[in-house]
């Protein structure tokens, strides 16, 4: 009897340990994406090169509920991840600009460095400037780069932490595109 109890205890602890080892410690929960919450609204100034086409400030609510939106948080100091995904995002935006709106949120950065980054990659989708990173907190952001996918109804359906590659981005886009 006692021997069986010991075996059970060892098996339980072993099972718990095995289960714990299977979990990904880097997996970060996103409350927004899990509960499909409406994307938090924000109004932020656009970086100067985008003012002619998009105006002085960008209000997300003006664009919600029309097209799916890809919201990409980045910073010029985020090397190499942000540098890896910038060309991928730009290429995808050029392919899908009729169906999806891409918005870049420059986070906790200095304006001259942000401007150098956008000109280095020739980013043509609108870029807003959030030096404090206040919008990131509203989205429950952990660290740049992070990308949120908002569907046509204005709900956050997915969040990707880390650099995006082309295949992953296309997979997320298929989720929000009709």
């Amino acid at each position: 009897m006692r021997g069986w109890l010991w075996l059970l205890l060892v098996l339980t602890l072993g099972g718990l340990f095995w289960w714990g080892m299977q979990r990904n410690p880097k997996e970060l929960p996103s409350v927004l994406a899990k509960e499909r919450r409406p994307a938090p609204d924000f109004t932020l100034p656009l970086l100067p090169p985008y003012r002619e086409a998009w105006g002085e400030t960008f209000r997300l609510a003006d664009h919600l509920g029309k097209k799916p939106i890809v919201l990409n948080f980045w910073a010029s100091w985020c090397y190499p991840a942000c540098y890896e995904e910038a060309p991928v995002l730009e290429a995808s935006w050029r392919r899908h600009k009729e169906e999806v709106l891409f918005v870049g949120v420059n986070t906790q950065d200095k304006e001259p460095e942000a401007l150098r980054f956008v000109s280095q990659f020739g980013l043509t989708f609108p870029q807003v400037y959030d030096p404090r990173g206040r919008v990131g907190v509203d989205y429950g952001m952990y660290g740049v780069p992070e990308t949120f996918f908002v569907d046509r109804e204005g709900r956050v359906v997915a969040r990707h932490a880390g650099a995006l590659d082309e295949a992953t981005l296309e997979r997320y886009l298929a989720e929000v595109l009709p």
């Binding site: 970060l28 929960p29 409350v31 927004l32 986070t107 906790q108 404090r132 990173g133 206040r134 990131g136 907190v137 509203d138 989205y139 429950g140 952001m141 952990y142 660290g143």
Partner: protein
């Protein structure tokens, strides 16, 4: 006296760390200490100097100025990051086990130690033998 001085010398660096930086009120750090820094997960939002943690402290300071309570401020961050952001998991639901299991473990260990070290009665034959020898007249 010497011991007192020794302990004082040991505790001085800890005391020095307690003082908050001058730009934000100490209440801000008190609340930030209960929140996890999202980028540097081993640190609290009070200790970290990462951009997010600095912004979190600014938000806490602003909310305190608006008259929000500690609970309301914590709820604000839990709403955005989930309960993960709290340094101490809530004492209910699944995370209650995090609090209970160590106590349960200690209890089991105590029981085990007690059972192991409890004075055991001597075997019957031995007792009988002792009894018999006692009754024997000394040689």
């Amino acid at each position: 006296m010497r011991w007192f001085l020794f302990l004082l010398a040991l505790s001085l660096p800890a005391l020095a760390q307690e003082g908050p930086p001058p730009d934000l009120p100490p209440e801000v750090f008190q609340i930030a200490r209960t929140l996890r820094c999202p980028v540097c997960q081993g640190e609290s939002a009070a200790e970290s100097n990462s951009g997010v943690a600095v912004e979190m402290r600014r938000i806490i300071a602003e909310m305190l100025k608006e008259g929000k309570t500690k609970e309301e401020i914590q709820a604000f961050f839990v709403d955005r990051y989930g309960e993960w952001i709290l340094y101490e998991p809530p004492r209910r639901g699944t995370t209650l086990w995090v609090w209970l299991l160590p106590l349960l473990g200690l209890l089991l260990l105590g029981l085990g130690l007690f059972a192991y070290f409890r004075p055991k009665p001597l075997p019957k034959e031995l007792l009988e033998e002792a009894e018999r020898r006692l009754k024997e007249p000394p040689r």
